[in-house]
Amino acid sequence: MRRFSTDAIIALVLLVVCAELYRETFNFRAVAFATMSPAVWPRFVILLLAAFCVALLGKEVFAIAGGVQGGRAAPPISHRTAAICFGLFAIFLIVTPWLGMLIAGLLYVFIMQEVLGPRDIKSRFVHLAIAAVSVGGMWAVFTFALRVILPQGELLRM
């Protein structure tokens, strides 16, 4: 038996999301004398989305029943690099309140290059220089030229 394609799984997940969001529309505060209830438009959009998801699911089911290759099966490509980048960005965001945008940014750009690029000694110095110049420059532009108060960090405040 053929397994469900990724598209079918996405359609199912979206249908579950639609069901939850539709339920949530009943929790909206009721407004007296409103010409259109705040829930009308979201419900319309959710129902539309659900209809499209059902159509996508149906297309996939018919494709499987007809023995036709449906949407793509489980993604064969490794997305390890993307996952690492997202993870590093999340860590950068977690530590920013403590380290501040400048130090956290320096570390982030340097570590990203180390993870993605070559790791010999010469490259390490190049990565460090790129991180220092780019992050320092950007920090200076935003802080002094655009007057944006970037997070200073608990560490520097101490």
């Binding site: 997202f86 750009v109 997070p151």
Partner: protein
């Protein structure tokens, strides 16, 4: 009146400060557009954070500089390395790269630069003439018509996804749903916030955009780690000298191609949601069909480069016409500009040009000047591009990802926005991997609140839902929306299934109904012409049956 407005707007745009910002924007755009993997949308999105603190006209001048610059810059990579810098310059590669390989890289770049310039200027002039006229038509629209126009924009964007149109529709609806998060603009009721305080104001526009377009795109580019480590241009690569005189000579010889393709680009730009990525291929294809020697296209001939480059630059002007006259984005970049304008509390609509003429004509003048600035900066930008292409992608991407975070933070001094960026980066990456188009989603985010407010206004005016289908303009947009949904099947079936031969005549006949309902001499004549054309083509198709056994009504099976 037009001249007065233009003179006043010119004075407000043509200041040293604005011109400096525009030049900076154009230079950045030229380089960003040239680097494969960096799209025009990314370039404009990443410029947004710098423009928030500026006066609206200064911010728009900067963004228009980036827009025009990146549209032009896309062809550098086409000519020099055979990879389109942006999707808007795919067709440029067909002839510019062979021309460069035939020993004329300077001519290829020169023709690209000048064709882009003239394409942009032609569309700027028509922008000044057509935008106020279209805005007058837009004044006829009621909320029902606007609602249907938005529906048409979304179906049009989704239909561009071709066979994955269903995914395009899902992406568009997801965008509409995202726009519902936070307090609604009509009653101030919190929706889908799940008790999260920062969500009360909804998702900020910038983090969503940067996440969907820049963050996810960069991570897609980085997926191939080995490729990301290697510079795109080898060390020691030399820049070709741009042959300006020879390029201008070619443009004079092929001026009809230049004008024809600029008009094609402009028309595509005016249609909601269609952008340069369509127009450049369409113009190149039309030019090939119109040529007496179509077999020479793709071998490195000037007409091929002129067609693609003049069309993609003219598309920008067309997209601005729709944005300024109707408040509907003509392409994804103008959708971003629309969002940027709302941040400055300016909402383009049919009354925009008449109520804010200085700003409206300022946009036209800024767009006009941006073409000159971009032309002047092409050569220095080309040198910088060659230098930058020696930096491996992984180093550039690491710095840009950090810049995304700082830029998004600067919007509201909020780390929550940067988390939003990360979340939408993940969503954008996943959607791209599963072949969901992102353009309909962002159109949904931009147009969602407009659609909801027009629905509310229409229901407040009348509870008669049939008005959505019986008013002339509503019916007009409903018809084109339905036909745009069927369009991908029509494209696939053309020349194979018989029903496709009747698609265009049917569209003409059906469109004649709302056009005739609009009344007036011109529109009644147009309706009659549409009806006549549709009936003539239908009768002709019936009297000229396809060769027996060659094809049938609904399938593409032959024999």
């Amino acid at each position: 009146m037009l001249i007065d407005n233009i003179v006043v707007a010119f004075a407000s745009v043509f200041t040293a400060y604005n011109m400096m910002l525009m030049a900076l924007g154009a230079f950045t755009g030229l380089i960003a557009g040239a680097i494969p993997g960096f799209t025009i949308t990314m370039a404009v999105v990443l410029t947004l954070p710098f423009t928030f603190g500026m006066e609206p006209i200064s911010g728009l001048a900067t963004m228009l500089g980036v827009y025009v610059g990146s549209t032009t810059g896309g062809m550098f990579a086409c000519a020099l390395i055979g990879i389109p810098g942006t999707p808007s310059s795919i067709a440029t590669t067909f002839d510019a790269f062979p021309m460069a390989r035939n020993g004329r890289p300077g001519l290829a770049v020169g023709i690209g630069i000048w064709a882009s310039f003239f394409g942009g200027i032609i569309s700027a002039v028509l922008l000044a003439v057509l935008a106020p006229t279209l805005a007058l038509v837009g004044l006829e629209f009621g909320p029902w018509d606007y609602f249907m126009l938005i529906a048409f924009s979304l179906t049009m964007a989704a239909s561009l996804s071709g066979e994955a149109m269903l995914k395009g529709l899902i992406a568009g609806t997801l965008g509409l749903l995202l726009a519902c998060v936070g307090e609604d603009t009509i009653n101030g009721v919190a929706r889908f916030t799940y008790g999260i305080e920062p969500l009360k104001s909804g998702f900020a526009f910038l983090p969503v955009l940067v996440g969907l377009f820049a963050f996810s795109q960069l991570l897609s580019d980085l997926s191939d780690t080995e490729k990301a480590k290697v510079p795109m241009l080898p060390k020691g690569s030399q820049i070709a000298r741009v042959e300006h005189r020879a390029a201008i000579r070619e443009l004079v010889i092929h001026w009809t191609s230049l004008v024809r393709c600029s008009l094609i680009g402009l028309f595509i730009g005016i249609l909601p949601a269609l952008g340069g990525s369509i127009s450049n291929i369409l113009a190149w294809d039309q030019e090939r069909k119109a040529s007496k020697t179509p077999e020479r296209f793709g071998t490195g001939i000037p007409e091929g480069v002129i067609a693609s480059e003049s069309a993609n630059n003219a598309t920008s002007g067309g997209a601005l016409i729709t944005m300024m006259a109707l408040g509907i984005p003509g392409d994804i970049v103008t959708a971003i500009m629309l969002g940027a304008l709302t941040i400055h509390n300016i909402a383009p609509s049919p009354t925009f040009i008449s109520t804010q003429p200085q700003l409206a004509y300022g946009i036209i003048i800024a767009y006009f000047l941006a073409n000159f600035v971009s032309l002047a900066l092409c050569v220095p930008a080309l040198r910088t591009f060659v230098t930058l292409m020696r930096i491996p992608l992984y180093a550039m991407a690491s710095v840009i990802l950090f810049y995304c975070a700082v830029g998004v933070f600067s919007l509201d001094n909020s780390l929550f926005d940067v988390w939003t960026l990360l979340v939408f980066g993940v969503i954008g990456f996943m959607l791209s991997k599963f072949k969901f188009p992102l353009a309909p989603m962002i159109l949904g985010v931009v147009l969602g609140p407009v659609a909801e407010s027009n629905l509310s206004r229409s229901l407040a005016t009348s509870d008669d839902l049939s008005l959505f289908f019986t008013r002339p303009w509503s019916l007009f947009f409903f018809v084109v929306a339905v036909f745009s949904i069927v369009f991908p099947w029509y494209q696939a079936a053309r020349g194979k299934a018989r029903w496709a031969e009747f698609f265009m005549p049917a569209l003409a006949i059906v469109l004649a109904v709302p056009t005739g309902m609009m009344g007036g001499m011109f529109r009644t004549s147009a309706a009659a012409a549409l009806l006549g054309f549709g009936l003539w083509r239908t009768v002709r198709q019936f009297h000229q049956p396809a060769p027996a056994g060659r094809w049938n009504w609904f399938t593409s099976r032959r024999g």
